[in-house]
């Protein structure tokens, strides 16, 4: 019996102690008419050997071409130590650290995680994770509504440069709360949210979302936007790529002294770039940081340092009164299980990279992206659309339909990028191309020459 240790004798003597004749008897409180029919669509049990073979074949089917897709999920090198440590049984098979004394490993690690995330974003505090980047933005919106007590409008200003799927998730999750999401268009030249297009009249705004970098990979004018929001009584929700934070101004420092308040109020985002493999989309982890004054509105687990009976330092879940298991229908969120193991990986990843390793990874990704863009711009029929600087993604306009070009690139062993034409038809044949530190000079050349060929080929096909 897979995973069941009972011998026949065990079973019998246990039934004797219970005073039951058979295991079947133990189900006698279930009305007979409800008893289930056999599970016909569950296959018969297989040995580990058989399952192993099947699933390895499946995985082998999915070996991937060279990947230049980003759009919210980024391929970075992950040190081997990260997952060798993360999958140690004591991390992997522990529960949420409710019983603090028996969970100091997880708790101290999460305290370290919180410290690192707060440092990376230059914010006061961090929670211990949310589900993913998209849902963390939804939680940030809900949190902003709770936190901005002065604002009654529940109006959230949302640039169109926020990841389109994130927007969908925000809608799904916040739609029952009377919240208005007001879309702000982007600057067609810069690819950013132009400060001049923000409402000039005063008004009750609950929060402004600022993506950095934005979905186009473009860097937003964060200081001006932050100042604008604070001047209008709106909270600033930063949604950032944590890897980029090693290189560019973190949200805790957004804005200028003149505005009186500096820094974003809430920062969230997708933690995947920090040591989590692409994995077909998950598990990743969402993170959330905020200014100290908002900490009681934060959703999710928070770990605090404390002392034990002997005065020795230790760690424990704290501010639990925000959470569903205490506050129930009045909790800040319904979240319970979060993405603990992924924060374990991220913490180990950041420890192994250190500030310099992380900075170089970010800088290298940026430089590779610049190099490739330059090479691609030299190709006939390819041009960079936006003028503003970016991090490690660029939007290119092609003189051919993106879908066909991508398919031609696939034939050359390349996943060429993310096709923007459906979601941003106004940009024409627009392709979002990401390059990280994982790509070599040869990879970039291979991309460039393949794109050149692909464009010619589609041309040939079209004219044929």
């Amino acid at each position: 019996m897979p995973f069941i240790p009972h011998t026949k004798e065990d079973t019998q003597s246990m039934l004797d102690v219970i005073g039951a004749k058979s295991i079947e008897d133990l189900f006698d409180e279930i009305p007979v008419e409800l008893r289930a029919k056999p599970l016909e669509n569950v296959p018969a049990g297989r040995s580990e050997m058989a399952v192993n073979r099947l699933v390895r074949q499946r995985a082998a089917e999915d070996v991937q071409p060279l990947c230049f897709i980003g759009a919210g999920a980024y391929e970075h090198h992950i040190p081997a130590a990260v997952w060798e440590l993360t999958t140690r049984g004591e991390f992997y098979t522990a529960y949420t650290p409710y019983q603090a004394e028996a969970s100091q490993g997880t708790l101290q690690l999460l305290y370290e995680f919180q410290t690192m995330m707060a440092e990376l974003t230059a914010m006061d505090v961090s929670n211990a994770s949310l589900y993913d980047g998209a849902s963390s933005l939804a939680e940030a919106v809900l949190m902003a509504v709770r936190a901005n007590r002065k604002s009654k409008s529940k109006r959230i200003l949302v640039p169109r440069t926020v990841h389109p799927t994130y927007l969908k998730v925000v809608k799904t999750i916040t739609q029952h709360q009377g919240i208005t999401l007001e879309m702000l268009d982007y600057d067609i030249d810069g690819g950013h949210l132009n400060i001049d297009t923000l409402p000039s009249e005063p008004g009750d705004f609950t929060a402004l979302i600022i993506p950095q970098p934005n979905f186009f990979g473009v860097l937003e004018d964060v200081d001006a936007l932050t100042d604008w929001a604070h001047a209008h009584g709106a909270l600033v929700i930063g949604v950032v790529n944590p890897m980029a934070m090693a290189l560019i101004t973190p949200p805790g420092e957004w804005g200028t002294e003149e505005a009186g308040i500096k820094g974003a109020d809430i920062v969230c985002g997708e933690g995947q770039p920090l040591g989590v493999p692409l994995s077909s989309g998950g598990p990743y982890f969402g993170f959330m940081c905020c200014a100290q004054k908002h900490v009681r509105q934060m959703p999710g687990r928070i770990i605090g340092a404390t002392n034990d009976l002997d005065g020795k330092p230790g760690y424990t879940l704290t501010l639990q009164a925000r959470e569903q298991h205490i506050r129930r229908s009045k909790a800040t969120s319904n979240i319970c299980t979060n993405q603990g193991l992924l924060t374990t990986a991220a913490t180990i990843y950041m420890s192994l990279m250190g500030p310099e390793g992380l900075r170089r990874t970010a800088a290298n990704s940026h430089a590779n992206s610049c190099t490739l863009t330059k090479q691609l711009n030299a190709i006939d029929g390819v041009e960079t659309i936006f003028s503003r600087p970016g991090f490690h993604e660029k939007v290119l306009r092609l003189n051919k339909p993106v879908k066909e070009v991508l398919s031609a690139l696939e034939d050359r062993g390349i996943l060429g990028g993310y096709d923007l034409s459906a979601e941003f038809p106004e940009l024409g044949n627009a392709l979002l191309v990401c390059v990280t530190e994982t790509k070599t000079e040869e990879d970039l050349q291979h991309y460039a020459s393949s794109l050149q060929e692909a464009l010619q080929e589609t041309l040939a096909e079209v004219s044929a």
Partner: protein
């Protein structure tokens, strides 16, 4: 005589305390290319983040030793009720970490993802059968998100079928007082008012009370059966009838299916929607707090509202047999997306592998032995003189013991018992949940524990009771043998210290 076990590094140190400015882990350094930047000065970070500067060995040593400070299923019996801490078979982990799965970009074309999609599609089929539902979406990332999806579907359904034009007509969700906290919290997130109904002394729902609160304002009820009290509600069919008659829908909190796998299907009980915690019943690891996966199953009438994406299989045409994502186009009435991609795919693969290993017989066996273990341990503890919250009932996958008497007579609490258990090498059961049972321990042994372990646990409980009889203070100060003694939660909340700051010198 017994110096602090230091490991050559002080055992309480944080990773930051191993850090030294300029120390690097050289193998992780890619080329330094500062020059190539097109980022204007004003957008560049001025001071580097205070991340640890350590060698690979420092990190390996630190995190290896940290891990050893945890209790885990791999090292201890962990009878945390409602949490289903059962063995996590290693094949699930090994196979989910195959490079083919890990390396796949979520937005890569479907033709480069047929392997993983085949696994997910088959998992959908398995979960449909197990729950007795018509369709399954795998996208919710944990139980609570599954609940959200479920209640949002109930809402979407009412909205779609509401002819009066008054969309907020059905404004209430009913929850039993014993419900898990995520249930009422979810109802609130979906914009509902929560109506609580009481539980009878026999552990079943107070049907009379239910009849009183149910009405045209009822959107639905959130139940779990077996309930969080560890008993199977015998009048479930009647309850379903009452709610359905009032036009409400039934939500099944399927966090713990261990005791009913292949025994009774939520669909057959009359439920319209269910979420499952794959990180419980389907044995994906808890990882110290996630990730989980909370797929939702729905009856025919809720199918149009399922969260996307769902894996579809082409049954005709040139792509016959191939898999693709069903999206907004296929399910225009969907409640929408809950995550940037397909939820926690890696968790889903683990659950799939587990389901294949168990097979249909293994599912039923899980219910058999989870139930046997719970009833046995309950009997052993009752024999040892402990009070059961519901002594006349069968246990399901779990049961509740109350220490009300001990609290009154000896001043020892459920928490005292719990922490003292740690000294004996057992993780504590769930304490103080469900909220309606005073000084309770909710105990879920799971099917993967042996009789020997259950016997040892029962013996230790008895020993602790004897300690409490002889010297209650002993329990109050427990634990003694763990990396830390009893921690001060009040201090943690009052003097908030949520991140490390280097001592100034």
């Amino acid at each position: 005589m017994s110096p602090e076990f230091t490991s050559g590094i002080k055992s309480n140190q944080l990773i930051f305390e191993h850090s030294a400015t300029g120390r690097t882990n050289g193998a992780q350094m890619v080329e330094d290319v500062a020059s190539a930047s097109e980022i204007p000065e004003g957008l560049l970070r001025k001071t580097p983040p205070m991340l640890p500067e350590v060698s690979e060995m420092d990190a390996v040593r630190h995190y290896t030793r940290l891990s050893q400070k945890n209790f885990s299923i791999d090292t201890q019996f962990y009878p945390l009720g409602s949490c289903t801490m059962k063995h996590n078979p290693r094949a699930c982990n090994t196979l989910a970490l195959l490079p083919g799965f890990l390396g796949r970009h979520p937005l890569a074309p479907e033709r480069f993802g047929q392997g993983v999609m085949a696994c997910l599609w088959e998992l959908q089929e398995i979960l449909k059968d197990v729950t007795g539902m018509t369709a399954v979406s795998l996208s919710p990332m944990a139980g609570a998100q599954g609940e959200f999806a479920g209640v949002a579907m109930i809402r979407a359904y009412h909205d779609a079928n509401n002819t009066s034009g008054n969309k907020s007509e059905r404004s209430e969700i009913i929850c039993p007082d014993a419900a898990h906290g995520t249930n009422p919290a979810t109802a609130t997130m979906c914009g509902y008012k929560v109506r609580e109904i009481p539980t009878n002394t026999d552990g079943d729902i107070d049907v009379e009370a239910l009849k009183e609160v149910v009405g045209p304002q009822t959107a639905g009820i959130m139940l779990t059966n077996p309930s969080t009290l560890g008993v199977f509600d015998r009048r479930i069919k009647e309850i379903a009838q009452i709610v359905h008659d009032a036009g409400g829908l039934l939500y099944y909190d399927g966090a713990n299916l261990n005791a009913i796998l292949g025994k009774v299907k939520p669909g057959d009980m009359g439920f319209d929607v269910i979420h499952m915690n794959l990180h419980k019943t389907f044995s994906t690891p808890h990882g110290g707090g996630g990730p989980g996966a909370g797929p939702v199953g729905v009856s025919e009438r809720l199918k149009p509202f399922m969260p996307i994406p769902v894996v579809g299989k082409d049954v005709v045409g040139k792509d016959e047999g191939s898999f693709r994502w069903l999206t907004e186009t296929d399910l225009p009435q969907s409640i929408g997306r809950l995550s940037a991609h397909m939820g926690n795919t890696g968790v889903l693969i683990r659950a799939y592998v587990y389901a294949l290993l168990l097979g249909r017989e293994g599912m039923v066996r899980t219910a058999d032995y989870a139930t046997l273990n719970a009833n046995y341990l309950m009997a052993r503890l009752a024999q040892a003189g402990f009070d059961m919250a519901l002594p006349s009932r069968r246990a399901t996958h779990e049961f509740i013991l109350t220490l009300k008497r001990q609290a009154k007579d000896q001043g020892v609490t459920a928490m005292d018992f719990a922490t003292r258990l740690l000294d004996y090498g057992f993780h504590a059961p769930t304490t103080y949940f469900p909220l309606i049972v005073p000084e309770c321990l909710l105990i879920e042994p799971t099917e993967t524990e042996s009789k020997e372990t259950l016997d040892a646990f029962a013996d230790v409980m008895k020993t602790i009771q004897e300690e409490a009889d002889a010297n209650p203070e002993l329990l109050k100060d427990a634990p003694y043998t763990l990396p830390v003694r009893r921690l001060d939660d009040v201090k943690a909340a009052r003097e908030l210290n949520l991140k490390y700051s280097p001592a100034k010198d």
